[in-house]
Symmetry: none
Subunit: 217 residues, 4 copies
Amino acid sequence: MSTSKRTQQFEDRQHKHDHILRTARGLLERNPMLDTTMADIAERSGVAKGTLFLYFPTREALMLSMLTIDIVAWFDELDQALEEGGRWTQDRVVHMMAQSVTNKPFFMRLLARLELTFQRAHGTQAAADFNAMLYPRMTKTGELLERRLPFLKAGEGAWLLLHARAQITGLWLMADSPPEVVKVLKESPLNHLFVDFIKEFSASMTAFLRGVEVGRA
Amino acid sequence: MSTSKRTQQFEDRQHKHDHILRTARGLLERNPMLDTTMADIAERSGVAKGTLFLYFPTREALMLSMLTIDIVAWFDELDQALEEGGRWTQDRVVHMMAQSVTNKPFFMRLLARLELTFQRAHGTQAAADFNAMLYPRMTKTGELLERRLPFLKAGEGAWLLLHARAQITGLWLMADSPPEVVKVLKESPLNHLFVDFIKEFSASMTAFLRGVEVGRA
Amino acid sequence: MSTSKRTQQFEDRQHKHDHILRTARGLLERNPMLDTTMADIAERSGVAKGTLFLYFPTREALMLSMLTIDIVAWFDELDQALEEGGRWTQDRVVHMMAQSVTNKPFFMRLLARLELTFQRAHGTQAAADFNAMLYPRMTKTGELLERRLPFLKAGEGAWLLLHARAQITGLWLMADSPPEVVKVLKESPLNHLFVDFIKEFSASMTAFLRGVEVGRA
Amino acid sequence: MSTSKRTQQFEDRQHKHDHILRTARGLLERNPMLDTTMADIAERSGVAKGTLFLYFPTREALMLSMLTIDIVAWFDELDQALEEGGRWTQDRVVHMMAQSVTNKPFFMRLLARLELTFQRAHGTQAAADFNAMLYPRMTKTGELLERRLPFLKAGEGAWLLLHARAQITGLWLMADSPPEVVKVLKESPLNHLFVDFIKEFSASMTAFLRGVEVGRA
DNA sequence: GATGAATGAGTCTTCATTCAT
DNA sequence: AATGAATGAAGACTCATTCAT
């Protein structure tokens, strides 16, 4: 009896919680988020609609939980990369960050929409909780960053991540137009305006880091 | 009798158009956009619901009209500032841009949400039209910018504005939490995480511009 | 001054009345009726929407006016054909009637919908007026019919027309499915069920007339 | 314990389905169909508007369900009557058919409007489905008819039903004026024009059948 | 008489959330 | 705990009709 019944129950609950989250994610990865309904998620997860509300008080909480998982995973990935040896240059940092967001369209979509979620009335508590989780986590990765970029002062690693996140969000929103709009744009004389997310993010971060370092001198 | 009846009618129409836009704006300035319905706008504007659709074919068109006005006004303001004499430094450019977005919470909210608007199915045509208007306008201001920052190559002015817009969007979304969330944050041990939009935007643009210039050398 | 001002006005009014009717007809001939709005009609007629209501108290009255014109024209056509010489057989009558409705899809559509129009509350007066016009007119053609089909008793000509109209209506409603439905039907194993209006109407009238005559014997 | 929980649920669902249909029917029996809204039906049925859409995907589907029930019941009734023994004459067939539509005003109203329902764009699939159900059913009754009227060739039973339906539709539309119109008509010198549906349908079918038989000779 | 801007009740449909079982 | 039927408040948009000019 290493695990009490209580613990067992808790684990079951936790598992179900995660199961729902995983399934919902899979669903949303395909469809544009705004149109994904609780009914869709329930069906895909193989649970009843009502059950969803047993594990998440509101739709918003579910969304936030999903983002939490992804964002933590993102920081974990960054940590791991930053732990790697070798010579660390600004370019390597930029490249590593660009790498970390490549092929994560769903994560960025969620990230970009995160703040919008907060602006709904319901968001108050959930938003506060999310922030309470996020910023400490951010600090840890920030410190790793400070070790790799010695010109950064204490605390500036997290600050850098903040700006990285802002740039990701801003650029992604511009780049992530629906296929039809992209098509129209590409066929128009404005075609050079189509935003290549990774390219622009790299350019932006490069300039930013360089600027910060020069500012120190 | 300088104005014919036809002209008069046209002006009336234009006035009403603008009146609705102004009222809608006023309303949205208070409430988060996603929850503002046509019914709300109609009531606030003192016109019937049906009347709204006399002036704007869809809700989205109304929203886009609002943003168009604001964004053009923003570029006009930038142009005007950039025409001013005196010595132009990077710091002056940054300060000027920061100035131009100060006290325009609604504009930025709209800007930040613009792309989201585009992700709905209906948006295809409207989105394309909007882009067709936006980018040429951006180019003009971009050229003025190139004159003030000689290290910029041809076309990079518009590119800079693109990144400025991305940063504004990204940072604003982080900074523009609803009052309740801000309150919770400020009273928590995380209070230093509250994002001061203007300060961060200035810092970000400063680093960015500096980095671009250094990259040239 | 052969025509007084008053007369002139009346004629103008009459002309406009007819002009609207003609234009509306042209429009409805193309589009399915239920979806044709007063705005459409106004635009096509080149008059303002409000003007429509100067000439017709309601939408329904306009529709009824349109039908009146067509139905009278139909009876006129029948009269004319029935006046022609030669030997008159049942088959000739049937053929002539079938002929008279061939290539008049709009008229039949209107006819088929006439009664539905009457079932709206507004219809009371207009319906009564329409009937007051219709039945006497029907009697006249009925009498011509009695002359050509001697087995008919006095008054049975109109009665025959009544049934002809019922059959037209009933068969037309079945035959006049929208193109998509017809397509589906034709490609299905049920394809033999597609109703060929003229063929069925001819068959139906032939049997009917023959039966009436035999009943007399 | 003869019924499992699953079965029970299914039955509940079925019952509710039918309950809504019955209520909607009751409502439509009084008001002209085109004006009966989903809101009306919901209120009358004692369920919420949203609930309606749990049982029927669209308004049209609800309408079609109603008609399907009635039309199948009608064919069942015809079948049953045609199975009865004794000597079968044309008059008996006519009388039987007339009997079968007596006191079914709502059914005929629905039948008469069926095709109109089909003319709306949405109807494509539903219309095809309905036809796929209807015509085979019609064939069965048609065969019974052929047995009772030996002069009919193979397949002509269904063809006869088709024409019967057309006549019912056509005559009913003429006879089913709203009370106010009937009143006006009866009090006018045109009072003989009021159509007695059963009488006319009987006369019409009698002539038709007789004509078909004579045509064979 | 003619206009067309304005109206607003009405239309179907959606979906997060609740709650009896 | 799990269900899923039920809810009902929104939602955007339409259109015959009115009326001030």
